[in-house]
C-alpha cells in the first residue's frame, strides 16, 4: 500500500495499460510535450513516444471522432478532454457515433475507447468552465459513465475502462487531482458497475459519486457527532449503475439522501432518487431528498459560486429533513 495522489493514480493506470497493450494510445490537447494540462500524462511522451502520446490541435470534434474511428479499426485510444466543458464541442461524435456504432451495425463493430478529463466546478472559473455534465452522458444508451472519488478507485476503474470494449466517459475533477489516498501495490482492476460503501451506517443512506463524495463523508462525520449514523454509498460508476447496492443500503436505513453536483433538472441524482422512491417505496420512512447544484449558471464571485454548489451544510440539512429532526 502506498499513498499517492489521484493524478498519480490515473497516470499509473494509463502507464500500466500502455505497457501491457500496444493498441492503447493517448491523444488530446497538451498531453505530450506539455505533459498534460493537469499533469496526468507527465512523462508518458518520453516513455512511449509521439505515435502513442499524441498532441492534438484544439479540435475536439475532430480528435474525438478520430479516436472513435481508430477504436472501430482495432486500437484502444484514450481521448483526454482538457475539461468536460470542451467535450460539448464533440458531443455529436459521442452521441451519434461512439454510442450507436455497435447497435446500428447489428453488433459488427465495437468502440473500445475512453474519454476522460476533469468535470464539474473548480474555483473562480465562471459559468462556461464549471459545468458538471454527467447527466448528459449518462442519458445515452451505449455509453458507460464512470466517476471515482479516491485514488485507488481512480486507478482500478480507469484500468477497467481502458480494457472495456465499450465507449467509457471517465469523469475526473480538477480539485481532485491532488487528493491523496492509499492505493494497493500491484495489479488493481475494479469492475465497472460496482458501488462501494465508503462508510457503513444504520440511520440514513447518503448516495454520491465523484468530487462531492468527500463532502458527503464530512457530512457523515458531522452527523455522527450529533448521534446520527449515516451510511455512504459511492456509486463509482453511473452506467452501469449498481442498483442492488443502493437498494440494499436503503432497505437497511429506510432513509435516503442523494447528492449530485450537477443541476437538478433531469439529472443522475434525480434519476437515482426516482429509482429509490419507486423500488424502495415500502421501505422508506421519509421522501427521498436530493442535494444538487443550484439551478443557475455558475457565477464568478467566490461567495456566490460556493452558494451555487453542494455543501456539507446542505447535505446535513437534507439528512435532518429525512429524519424529521
Amino acid at each position: 500500500m502506498s499513498v499517492i495522489t489521484l493524478r498519480e493514480a490515473l497516470r499509473a493506470a494509463i502507464d500500466e495499460e500502455m505497457a501491457r497493450d500496444d493498441s492503447v494510445l493517448l491523444l488530446g490537447e497538451e498531453v505530450g510535450q506539455y505533459n498534460g494540462a493537469y499533469k496526468v500524462s507527465q512523462g508518458l511522451l518520453e516513455k512511449y513516444g509521439p505515435e502513442r502520446v499524441i498532441d492534438t490541435p484544439i479540435s475536439e470534434e475532430g480528435f474525438t471522432g478520430i479516436g472513435i474511428g481508430a477504436a472501430m479499426a482495432g486500437l484502444r485510444p484514450i481521448v483526454e478532454w482538457m475539461t468536460l466543458n470542451f467535450s460539448l464541442q464533440a458531443l455529436d461524435q459521442i452521441f451519434s457515433n461512439a454510442s450507436k456504432m455497435r447497435y446500428m451495425s447489428g453488433g459488427q463493430f465495437s468502440v473500445p475507447i475512453v474519454f476522460r478529463g476533469p468535470n464539474g466546478p473548480a474555483e473562480y472559473l465562471g459559468s462556461q468552465h464549471s459545468q458538471a455534465l454527467q447527466s448528459i452522458y449518462a442519458h445515452v444508451p451505449g455509453l458507460k459513465v464512470v466517476a471515482p472519488s479516491t485514488p485507488a478507485d481512480a486507478k482500478g476503474l480507469l484500468k477497467a475502462s481502458i480494457r472495456d470494449d465499450n465507449p467509457v466517459v471517465f469523469l475526473e475533477a480538477e480539485l481532485m487531482y491532488s487528493w491523496k489516498g492509499e492505493v494497493p501495490e500491484g495489479e488493481l482492476v475494479i469492475p465497472l458497475g460496482t458501488a462501494d460503501v465508503k462508510r457503513p451506517g444504520k440511520d440514513v443512506t447518503l448516495i454520491g459519486f465523484s468530487k462531492p463524495l468527500r463532502m458527503v463523508l464530512e457530512a457523515a462525520e458531522a452527523l455522527a457527532a450529533q448521534g446520527i449514523d449515516a451510511e455512504v454509498v459511492d456509486l463509482r460508476s453511473i452506467r452501469p449503475l449498481d442498483e442492488a447496492a443502493i437498494y440494499e443500503s436503503v432497505r437497511k436505513t429506510n432513509r435516503c439522501v442523494v447528492v449530485d453536483e450537477a443541476w437538478p433538472f433531469a439529472s443522475v441524482g434525480s434519476h437515482v432518487a426516482w429509482l429509490v422512491s419507486r423500488n424502495c417505496f415500502d421501505d422508506l420512512d421519509a421522501a427521498v431528498e436530493f442535494v444538487s447544484a443550484e439551478d443557475v449558471p455558475m457565477p464568478y464571485n467566490h461567495g456566490l459560486e460556493l452558494a451555487a454548489q453542494v455543501s456539507v451544510d446542505k447535505i446535513v440539512d437534507a439528512v435532518k429533513r429525512v429524519l424529521y429532526a
Binding site: S59, G69, M104
Partner: protein, 343 residues
Amino acid sequence: MAGTKGARASAPAVSDNGAAGGVRGGDAGFQIELLRKMLLIRRFEERAAQMYGLKKIGGFCHLYIGQEAVAVGAIAAIDLAKDYVVAAYRDHGYALACGMEPRLLMAELFGKATGVSRGKGGSMHFFDAGRHMYGGNGIVGAQIPVATGVAMKIRYRRDGGVVLCWFGDGAIHQGSFHESLNMAKIWNLPIVYICENNHYGMGTDFRRVSSVTDFAVMGSSYGIPGSQVNGMDVLEVYREVLAAAERARSESTPIFLEVLTYRYRGHSMSDPAKYRTPEELESYKKQDPILIQRSRMTESGAFSDADFTALDAEFKAVCDDAVRFAEESPEPDPAALYQDVYA
C-alpha cells in the same frame, strides 16, 4: 489544380492507348465488370424505390441513381482486404460496389433480422466489417473524423492500407471536414477525401452556400493536393482514385478529390426536387454513367446490345430474389431490442 496529375500518368492497369483488345482504358473484362456493378446499383435502387412506394421500406431512403460511376470506379481502385470505405447516408451504392449481397441489403431496408445490420440500421446504416465497409453514417460530415481515425490506425500499424472517405457537397462546410484534414496532414495519414458533389445539399444548390465553388481547392489551406474528377465517367473516376490512393498509400499522405456527379432523384424519397429545372436533369441524363460506359464498350466491339439485355435480365432476377428473400425473412426477435447496446 496540379494534384495527382503526375501520378495519374503512371497509373497501372489502364491506359488511354487502347492497348487492351481495342478497348479504350483497359481490358474488356474489367470494364464490363464496372458496367455490371453500375447496372446492378441502378436496378437495385429502382427496386428500392418501388418497394418504398409499396411501403415495404420506411423512413429516409436516399437513392444513388445517377451517381453510380463514383462508387463503382473508386472502389474498383482499392483492395478491400487492406483498404477501407467510410461513407455517408446515401450508402446503397458503396455497399453494392464493395460486394455486399443485394439480398442482405434489401432485407435491411425491409427491417428484417437477416439484414446486414440485423434490421437495426436501415437504409442509412449499411455496414460490413469483413469487407471494411464502415457505414452508412447518417449525420452530415460526422463520418469524416471517423474515417480519419481509421487512417490513423493504418499509419500506426504500418499495415499498408488506405481509406476512402466519402461525403457530399453539403458536408464540406462542416467543421468536422476542416478539423480532419488538418490532422490528417500533420499526422501523415493515408486517406483520400472524396467530396461527391451532386450539386445539391438536400434542396440547396451548393453554389448558393459556398464561398468557393471550385471545391478542388478546399484541401489546399491544409497543404493537401486536390483535383476535380468527372464523376459521370466510371473510367475517369477509377483512374483518378487509383492514382490518389496509390499516392496516399506510398507517401502516407491525405489527398482530396472533388468528384462532380448528379443525382436523378430527390434528396430522399419524400423530396420532389422542385429546386431544379427539368432541363438540368435531362442534360445530366444525356451523360448518364451507364450510357457512357455501355457506348464505350459497344463501340469497342466487346459488348453487344444482346449482352446488355442479358445483363439487365440477370439483375432483374437478382432484385426479384432480393425482394423475395427480404419478404420471406423473419422480423427481428423482440429480444433483439436490447442486444448489442453494449459489447
